[in-house]
C-alpha cells in the first residue's frame, strides 16, 4: 500500500487541472447547467482527444489507456473541484466499468472503443423510482424472446440518461427476487419501447432521467443471471470514483472559504482573524484531509483488486460525502449572506454535495454496508 502519488501521477493531475481551470470556470458551469444536454460537445471532444480522459480506466485492448482507479480518482477529484459539466461519470465510470465487469470479450471489443474515444456516450441504469441502490431493489424484468430479451420496467435517477447513446440496464429474470438472477443488458438510448424524460435535478450540473421500458428489445451482456457480482463491483468502483470527486469539491469549498475569510473585513479586522472563523477552518481542513485519505486509500486498494475494496469503497463514500456536505454548509456560513446568493458560486458545490450525498446511496447506507463487512 502506497500513501502518496508518483511524480507521473502528480504531473497528470496538473495537466487535467490546467485544462479544467481553463475550460470550466463557473461562468461555463452556470451556462451549461441551464441547457438541456448539460455539457459542451467541444470541450468533451478536447477532453477526449487531447487528454484522453474517457479512455483512462479502459484497458488498451479495448481502445483505452489502461490506467486504474488511482488515475481515475485523480481525474474525478479534479472534475469535482471544477464542477465540469460533462457525461464523464455516466459514460466512463458507470457504463464502461459495467461493461468491463460483465461482458464477453467480443462485446467489450464491440462496445468499449467508442466509449474510450468519447464518441459514444453510455450510461448505466440501476436505480428505480424506489430509489434503492442495493441489487435487491431492482424490479425491471427481462423476458426472453426469440432474438434476445425484452425489458419492461422503469429506471430513475439515470445519470445523463436522456443524453446517452447507449443504455446499460440492470434487470432480472421474470419471477425472481433478491440478489439472484440479475443480468445486465444494452440497448440504444433511442430504441423502440424506451421513453426517456428529464427529471428536475436539485443539482443542475447533474442531469437525471426517468426511463420507461415497454418490451424494449435489448442485448444480454455476459451470462444470464450472473449480473450480481459484476454489478456490485461496478457500484464499488463508482463509489470510489465519486468519493474522489467529492473530496475535490470539498477542497474547492475549503479554499474558497479561507480565501474569503482572509479578505473579508468586519469590525476593522479580516474575519479570518476571529477564532470563531479560524477554528471552523481548521476543523474543515481536518475533515477534508481525512476524507481525502479515505478516498485515496480506496482508489489504491481498488487498483490492487484487494478483497476489502468493497468495504473501503463504502467507507470512502461515507467519509467524503459527510465531509463535502459539512464543508459546503460551513463555506456558506463563513461567507455570510453573500454565500446564500445565487451569484456567489458556493451553492453550485453545495448542491453537488447534496446530490452526491444521495447518489449511489446515503452515507448511512454505506456505513451499514461497511458494518456488514467489518462488524460481523
Amino acid at each position: 500500500m502506497d500513501y502518496s502519488f508518483t511524480d507521473e501521477q502528480e504531473q497528470f493531475r496538473s495537466i487535467v487541472q490546467r485544462f479544467l481551470k481553463e475550460k470550466s470556470p463557473t461562468s461555463e458551469v452556470r451556462r451549461l447547467m441551464e441547457t438541456e444536454e448539460g455539457y459542451d460537445p467541444n470541450v468533451w471532444r478536447q477532453l477526449s482527444e487531447d487528454l484522453g480522459l474517457p479512455a483512462i480506466p479502459i484497458p488498451e485492448a479495448y481502445g483505452g489507456a489502461g490506467f486504474g482507479p488511482v488515475e481515475l480518482g485523480i481525474v474525478m477529484e479534479e472534475l469535482g473541484r471544477s464542477l465540469l459539466c460533462a457525461p464523464y461519470f455516466s459514460s466512463t465510470v458507470l457504463a464502461a466499468n459495467a461493461i468491463l465487469n460483465t461482458a464477453f470479450e467480443s462485446q467489450k471489443l464491440d462496445l468499449l472503443p467508442a466509449i474510450a474515444s468519447g464518441e459514444r456516450l453510455a450510461t448505466l441504469a440501476v436505480t428505480e423510482p424506489n430509489g434503492r441502490w442495493d441489487a435487491a431493489g431492482i424490479e425491471c424484468i427481462a423476458s426472453p424472446t426469440a432474438d434476445g430479451f425484452q425489458l419492461s420496467g422503469t429506471k430513475s435517477f439515470v445519470l445523463d440518461g436522456c443524453l446517452a447513446d447507449l443504455l446499460v440496464v440492470v434487470a432480472r429474470n421474470p419471477g425472481s427476487a433478491g440478489f439472484e438472477e440479475l443480468s445486465l443488458f444494452t440497448l440504444a438510448g433511442n430504441a423502440d419501447g424506451v421513453t426517456r424524460r428529464a427529471l428536475a435535478p436539485m443539482d443542475a450540473t447533474r442531469k437525471l432521467a426517468h426511463i420507461e421500458f415497454n418490451n424494449a428489445q435489448a442485448t444480454l451482456l455476459g451470462d444470464l443471471g450472473a449480473g450480481f457480482a459484476p454489478l456490485s463491483k461496478t457500484l464499488d468502483q463508482a463509489a470510489v470514483a465519486l468519493a474522489n470527486e467529492m473530496v475535490g469539491g470539498a477542497q474547492a469549498l475549503l479554499e474558497a472559504a479561507i480565501e474569503y475569510a482572509k479578505m473579508r473585513m468586519q469590525f476593522g479586522r479580516a474575519i479570518g482573524s476571529f477564532q470563531a472563523i479560524k477554528h471552523k477552518c481548521a476543523d474543515m481542513l481536518l475533515d477534508v484531509e481525512l476524507a481525502k485519505s479515505a478516498a485515496y486509500h480506496a482508489a489504491q486498494v481498488a487498483s490492487e483488486d484487494d478483497p476489502d475494496t468493497s468495504a473501503l469503497a463504502s467507507l470512502a463514500k461515507a467519509a467524503a460525502s459527510d465531509a463535502y456536505v459539512r464543508t459546503a454548509a460551513t463555506c456558506i456560513q463563513i461567507h455570510g449572506g453573500i454565500g446564500f446568493t445565487w451569484d456567489n458560486d458556493t451553492h453550485l458545490w453545495f448542491k453537488r454535495a447534496k446530490s452526491s450525498e444521495a447518489f449511489l446511496g446515503l452515507p448511512s447506507y454505506h456505513r451499514e454496508l461497511l458494518m456488514q463487512q467489518w462488524g460481523g
Partner: protein, 417 residues
C-alpha cells in the same frame, strides 16, 4: 381622557365600530377614518392618530376589531418600523408628512441598512451622504432590502462624517425611492427565490428636512428601528384573519398582505419544517430504522425544548420578572433545529434528495428545505454574532478587544467594487 379602563374602552370602540364599520368601504377611506378617530393605533399619542391608551388596553381594541371582523390600519412590512422610529426620533414635519399614509397603507417602506461591505458589522456602512448646499447627495449600495422594488420610502443609514469613529459618523434619513438616482435590482438567492433587493445610489437626493434626528446621530436612531424589529414589529405580521369575510375591503386587504408577504413565502422551509418529519418518515417507511428513529427523536427533543424555552421566556416577561438567559437563545436554537431538520429530511428522503420541483417529494417542499436552511444561521445575525451576544450580554464574559474605534477613515474595511 386620563381615566382609561377596560370597560370604557371596550364600550367606546364597540360603539364607534357599530357606527362606522363598513365591509364595503374602500380600504384607504376606512383607514383615513381610523386615523382620524384614533382607533387604528390607540396606543399612539392623541396628536398623532392615536388615543394615548396604555399598550395593555390595545388588546381590548384588537379584540373588538376582531369581534366585528373590522380591518385595521396597515401593519405589514417595514412600515411599522418606520412609524415607530419616526414617532420616537422624527420631527413634527416627519410625523405630519409620513405617518398617516403609513397607516392607510398608501406608502410602502423599506429598510436601507445592510451593505455588501457591512453585514455583521452594520455600523461599518460606507454609503455616503454629502451635503451640496441644497440636498444630501447619496452614493453607495445597500443589500438585503425586502420590498425595495415597490416602496415609496426607505429608512437610510449613511455616512456623513468619515473622521469620526464609525458609530458616530452615521446619519439617518428618509429617502424617496422613486427618483432617478435610485436603482433597485432583485437579488436572487441560492434557493431560486428573489426575496430581497440590492439598491444602488448614484447621486440620489434627499432634502435636508428628511434627515431624522441630528447629523451623526444615525446609529442611535437605527438602534431604535432594530429594537422594534427584534420585538417583531416589522416583517411577518400579516396573515389576514379568517372568518366570514366578504366585502370589498377584505379583498383589498388580502391583496395588500399578499404583496407584502410574497418575499417570505419560503421562510417556513428555511426553518426546516420539523412538522413534516414524522409523517414523512412514516410515508417513506424509514421510521422503522433504529438509526433514523434516534435522529428523529433528537430533533424532536431539540425542537420541543426550544419551544418550551421560548414559553418560559414569555411567561417570565408576562410576570414582569427579569428576563433570564432563556430569552436570548431562540435564534441560536433555531439554527440548530434547521440544521438537524435538513439532516433528518435527507435521511428520510434518501435518493429523492437529488430532485427538485413538482415531481419531487411534497411538490418541491423538501428540496426547498434543503437549499434554504443554510440561511437560518445567517439571516438576522449569524450564529457567530449570536454567540458573541450571548456570551457577553448574558454570561458577562469579557468582550474582545476592538480594532475599529479610531476615525472611520482609518479603519480597515472592504473594498466594494
Amino acid at each position: 381622557m386620563a381615566d382609561f379602563n377596560e370597560e370604557n374602552v371596550r364600550r367606546d370602540v364597540r360603539d364607534w365600530l357599530k357606527a362606522n364599520w363598513d365591509p364595503n368601504a374602500k380600504l384607504v377611506d376606512w383607514r383615513n377614518k381610523l386615523a382620524d378617530s384614533g382607533w387604528g393605533v390607540p396606543h399612539w399619542p392623541v396628536e398623532w392618530y392615536g388615543k394615548g391608551l396604555p399598550v395593555s388596553l390595545g388588546q381590548v381594541v384588537d379584540d373588538e376589531f376582531a369581534r366585528a371582523n373590522a380591518v385595521g390600519v396597515a401593519k405589514t412590512g417595514i412600515r411599522m418600523l418606520a412609524a415607530a422610529t419616526l414617532l420616537e426620533h422624527g420631527s413634527d414635519f416627519h410625523k405630519d408628512r409620513f405617518l398617516r399614509r403609513i397607516l392607510t397603507g398608501e406608502d410602502t417602506w423599506c429598510q436601507l441598512f445592510s451593505e455588501p461591505g457591512s453585514g455583521s458589522d452594520l455600523a461599518g456602512a460606507t454609503t455616503r451622504a454629502d451635503f451640496d448646499g441644497d440636498n444630501w447627495i447619496i452614493n453607495g449600495q445597500k443589500l438585503w432590502t425586502t420590498s425595495a422594488h415597490h416602496a415609496q420610502f426607505g429608512l437610510l443609514l449613511a455616512r456623513t462624517d468619515w473622521d469620526e469613529p464609525k458609530h458616530k459618523g452615521l446619519s439617518y434619513f428618509v429617502l424617496a425611492m422613486e427618483q432617478s438616482g435610485v436603482d433597485v435590482q432583485p437579488l436572487r438567492q441560492m434557493n431560486g427565490h428573489a426575496s430581497f433587493n440590492q439598491v444602488f445610489f448614484t447621486d440620489a437626493k434627499i432634502p435636508p428636512e428628511h434627515l431624522v434626528s441630528t447629523e451623526g446621530n444615525g446609529w442611535q436612531v437605527a438602534m431604535t428601528t432594530l429594537a422594534h424589529e427584534r420585538r417583531g414589529a416589522g416583517g411577518l405580521h400579516g396573515t389576514s384573519r379568517e372568518g366570514p369575510r366578504k366585502g370589498n375591503i377584505y379583498d383589498e386587504e388580502r391583496a395588500e398582505i399578499a404583496t407584502v408577504m410574497e418575499p417570505y413565502k419560503w421562510y417556513p422551509q428555511r426553518a426546516g419544517r420539523v412538522d413534516l418529519i414524522v409523517e414523512r418518515a412514516k410515508a417513506t417507511g424509514t421510521i422503522t430504522d433504529s438509526h433514523i428513529r434516534q435522529e428523529i427523536a433528537k430533533l424532536l427533543i431539540l425542537s420541543k425544548s426550544a419551544e418550551w424555552t421560548a414559553r418560559r421566556a414569555r411567561a417570565a416577561q408576562q410576570q414582569g420578572r427579569p428576563q433570564g438567559p432563556e430569552g436570548s437563545l431562540g435564534k441560536l436554537a433555531a439554527s440548530n433545529i434547521a440544521r438537524a431538520c435538513a439532516h433528518v429530511h435527507t435521511l428520510i428522503t434518501q435518493t429523492d434528495v437529488m430532485l427538485t420541483g413538482q415531481e419531487s417529494p411534497l411538490g418541491g417542499t423538501i428540496a426547498e428545505i434543503l437549499v434554504s436552511v443554510p440561511a437560518t444561521s445567517i439571516a438576522g445575525g449569524t450564529d457567530e454574532i449570536q454567540r458573541n451576544i450571548i456570551s457577553e450580554r448574558v454570561l458577562g464574559m469579557p468582550k474582545e478587544p476592538r480594532f475599529d474605534t479610531g476615525p472611520f477613515r482609518d479603519v480597515p474595511r472592504n473594498i466594494v467594487t
